[in-house]
Symmetry: C2
Subunit: 337 residues, 2 copies
């Protein structure tokens, strides 16, 4: 049933929850590693034929109910005027630290300046040929700003949080600009063929509850509302926000991704029962064995039946060391539950 | 008022909340860096005169209302039969991976085998001379196990979590042993002169809500109850557990530490209003400027007035790059609020 995922996102009746895995096009798959052994990460992202190939791999291998574009949250950075490399995580060559740095950033003409991304989407749609829908994605402004200010991933993003506390007006100007960039970037993904969008706010959970709405959820909501204007369903996934569900509930998305920490029912209660939820098996469970994966996945699906709607997924990206048979056990357990 | 901290821990009336900072004996203090420039971290931990000196430094410098023993969570590891170095975080030479590894661990005679720790406590008590109480501390079994199994700090402690999911009986045996070690280790701290104990469960938040009680809180409760038997107040501090306050509420401690994510009032409501709470200013606020620190600290103290009791602190350890004047602004703002 090719529209299972899209129906579930809209809260429509479905015979079973759809299932996909965050980072399902990734290193745990031998066929991904084969492609990746020939090109570096950024080349893979920016070569439409290859990016399309790895996007489709988990659909063929695991039988997931949606494909997600192979890309990276930082892909728009070079078109904004920033140097980007991977080592292995993203590294920004001259991090954004001052109001002058913010004002030097450009809001790119995304179709002309990041053509490879939109070409990848067109190729994927052709290769999927209606089997499953394609999810496009991008970073929420808070999470993009975290990388742009810090220059690279860290445990606590102290430089970025210091900017929020010490120079909130600079932080707001950066978030405003990133919201404009991401509106364009994601709406153009839909226009190129993406049938749903997921907005990742990976680092939002670093904020205290009292700052969450202003600095993370409100900028994300601008992007989400722009994308919803195109008519496709939108998922907002913020990691580690159990202290701030009240703020997250204002994000405006159709679907809220829940990380592995919270129970689906606990998150649902805190969110007022108003959302389709996505998630949320601990990716570390897939490091165990297929029986353990099946047992815990069945229990997750059971809990999901009591929600407004449920998209089965992990509670964070699949880990590189995951045995493929455990990923398969996860998908199969959802389909049989 | 030398017993301010102890009275607040017991929920007794106090004229203002006591204040101390997690990791207050640390690199942000020039006098600490001076001592540390002469010896490595493990030597500093294991040399009673030096450990006592840095324990007392923040009392003299900042005027905090409690001292906390300078030590490390992994200090008991060598006496259990494990090789321990710092690089700069703790590294265990042969990580605990199998049931045989668990059974090879010893429950040490702590007074004889870790004499430097107890000697440090005696020196600190003498030097403090009743000015402020001394807090002893140790790791909760879950968090110690995370280091022992993983061998070092990581972002997600995948090896340890895999053990919990794939071999829960081995994980339980390890946790049981660590609970016995920590009971001895912390009761002996009280007998040597520690006037309160804080149990750190830094990594408990990595567990899904459904596994929190069994694998983190229950083992911690054993240790906490043993320490409470000595008559001193006990604080349980688990980071990033907003998804599982219900489990945390069963920990048996007098005081629950709240990290910077949750609001004090939100945590209090979820914990049933039954605990004195400690916390919880974001340590990153202290990277800003004294005015910002004072403003946010006053607001924290205001929120604390509505609790059963409040021990003012940060929501995690003070960061090495914190300007001393910001640490001072934090302490002063609590005292003046």
């Amino acid at each position: 049933m090719s529209d299972l995922y899209l129906r579930a996102c809209r809260g429509l009746p479905v015979p079973r929850p759809p299932v996909w895995l965050m980072r399902q096009a990734g290193r745990y798959l031998p066929e991904y590693r084969e492609v990746r052994s020939r090109v570096d990460f950024l080349t893979l992202c920016s070569t439409p034929e290859l990016a399309a190939q790895v996007t489709v791999q988990p659909v063929d291998r695991l039988g997931v109910d949606a494909a997600i574009l192979f890309s990276d949250l930082l892909v728009p950075a070079p078109a904004m005027g920033l140097g980007l490399t991977f080592d292995p995580g993203p590294v920004i060559d001259r991090p954004v630290r001052t109001v002058a740095d913010v004002r030097a950033l450009r809001v790119p003409e995304v179709r002309e300046e990041i053509p490879h991304l939109y070409e990848t989407i067109r190729i994927v749609r052709r290769e999927l040929d209606g089997r499953v829908p394609l999810i496009g994605f991008g970073g929420a402004p808070f999470t993009l700003a975290a990388y742009l200010v810090e220059g690279h991933g860290t445990r606590s993003f102290e430089t970025w949080k210091r900017m929020i506390y010490a120079a909130p007006e600079v932080a707001r100007e950066l978030l405003d600009l990133l919201a404009r960039v991401q509106e364009r970037y994601l709406v153009a993904q839909v226009e190129a063929g993406a049938q749903a969008i997921q907005v990742f706010d990976t680092w939002a959970g670093l904020l205290p509850a009292g700052d969450m709405e202003e600095f993370a959820v409100a900028p994300a909501r601008r992007v989400i509302e722009a994308v919803k204007g195109t008519g496709v369903p939108v998922t907002y996934f913020a990691l580690d926000v159990a202290h701030a569900w009240e703020a997250v509930a204002t994000c405006g998305a159709d679907v809220i991704g829940v990380d592995w920490r919270s129970t689906l029912s606990g998150a649902d209660a805190a969110l007022g029962g108003r959302f389709v939820l996505q998630g949320n098996l601990d990716p570390c469970v897939l490091l165990a064995d297929p029986d353990t994966v099946s047992r815990r996945t069945r229990s997750m699906v059971e809990e999901g039946r009591r929600l407004k709607g449920h998209v089965a997924n992990l509670g964070h990206g699949i880990l590189p060391g995951t045995p493929v048979e455990c990923a398969q056990a996860f998908v199969d357990a959802v389909k049989r539950a």
